[in-house]
């Protein structure tokens, strides 16, 4: 990728580089571009984590994490999201081999596990609000709902994306364009699981321990 940089005048070199990009299955400008997007998304979450870290003990006389966090429920949610990452990973060898039917089955399972995750999270949010621990109660809870809610919104978008992929694979089959989209979605989904590692450690577990 670097041998062309010292001589920009030779346009033929640029064509060769462009072709080189397709020599292996991951060598695709779209995938690298999507990775850069994910990194910028990580910075959004970094600022939300920083905000949460700063106000995580500003309880304003309201409930503290130990009183309101239900760790078995969080463990269930963590398991659901990790399982959905695994089922998505199971779709990838079939994607590489061009088998549309198993790709759709594994994607559908991933979507269902994602729906379970969002469902449990909405139940948790509703329970907190009904207990008087809503986002307006304290800075800690405002930051909690903003951080965890932003992650939940991402997962919801991922589920919509999965539904669109299921419909498009049914209509188009596994064309190169469809493979590229599913590979981007796979990166997106694994990325959300990585953000969740930060959430369950920093927000829930550390909140209960401190």
């Amino acid at each position: 990728m670097t041998d062309h940089a010292d001589d920009p005048g030779r346009s033929i070199t640029w064509h060769r580089v462009d072709e080189d990009g397709h020599d292996h299955e991951d060598g695709n400008a779209t995938l690298l571009g999507f990775w850069i997007y994910l990194m910028s998304d990580a910075l959004i979450f970094a600022s939300l984590f920083a905000m949460f870290g700063v106000v995580s003990t500003s309880y304003a006389g309201g409930p503290v994490p130990r009183e309101i966090f239900n760790l078995p429920l969080v463990a269930l949610n963590t398991g659901l999201l990790l399982a959905s990452s695994i089922t998505f990973g199971e779709a990838m060898p079939h994607l590489a081999a061009g088998r549309a039917a198993p790709v759709r089955v594994w994607l559908a399972m991933t979507g269902l596990l994602g729906a379970g995750f969002v469902g449990v999270e909405l139940y948790e949010f509703g329970h907190l609000v009904s207990e008087g621990a809503g986002p307006q109660r304290s800075a800690f809870l405002s930051a909690f709902f903003t951080l965890v809610g932003t992650h939940g919104a991402h997962v919801t978008v991922g589920m919509i994306w999965i539904a669109v992929m299921l419909a498009q694979i049914a209509r188009n089959g596994l064309t190169p364009a469809m493979r590229r989209r599913v590979m981007c979605l796979s990166m997106f989904w694994h990325f959300l699981d990585i953000i969740w590692i930060g959430v369950f450690t920093f927000v829930y577990l550390y909140g209960v321990v401190r």
Binding site: H22, A50, M51, P93, V209
Partner: protein, 118 residues
């Protein structure tokens, strides 16, 4: 060469190896998820040890996910994904660590004895 040809060109053995690599990642990720929950929910260690251990395991699990599930290594995209990831990691550490550090000291210096929970 199209993506299709590249995929057909990769041998069955290569794919099987990738799948084994992936399942090693799954086992590591599962262990690194179960352990911190077990530590906190059963109260095995004192607070500071538990906090240190869960943050250490979270860092390792993030690396496991990035390496085994997202396949970021020195070769992918000519190293550009790894470079972008490392750059982002630096910014993330600066943002979170810097904010918490500065605001903690502001709190302790400007409101002595205030409700910081420490």
């Amino acid at each position: 060469m199209t993506d299709m040809q590249a995929m057909d060109g990769s041998s069955q053995a290569h794919r099987a190896e990738r799948h084994r690599f992936y399942w090693a990642g799954v086992l590591l990720a599962a262990a690194l998820t179960v352990l911190p929950f077990w530590l906190v929910m059963t109260g095995q260690a004192d607070r500071s040890t538990t906090a240190l251990l869960i943050f250490a395991m979270a860092l390792v699990q993030i690396v496991v996910h990035v390496a085994f599930f997202l396949h970021v290594d020195t070769r992918s995209e000519g190293g550009w994904t790894l470079l972008a990831f490392l750059f982002t990691a630096v910014i993330v550490v600066l943002t979170i660590g810097g904010s918490v550090w500065i605001m903690y000291h502001l709190n302790t210096n400007m409101m002595p004895g205030a409700i910081t929970g420490h």
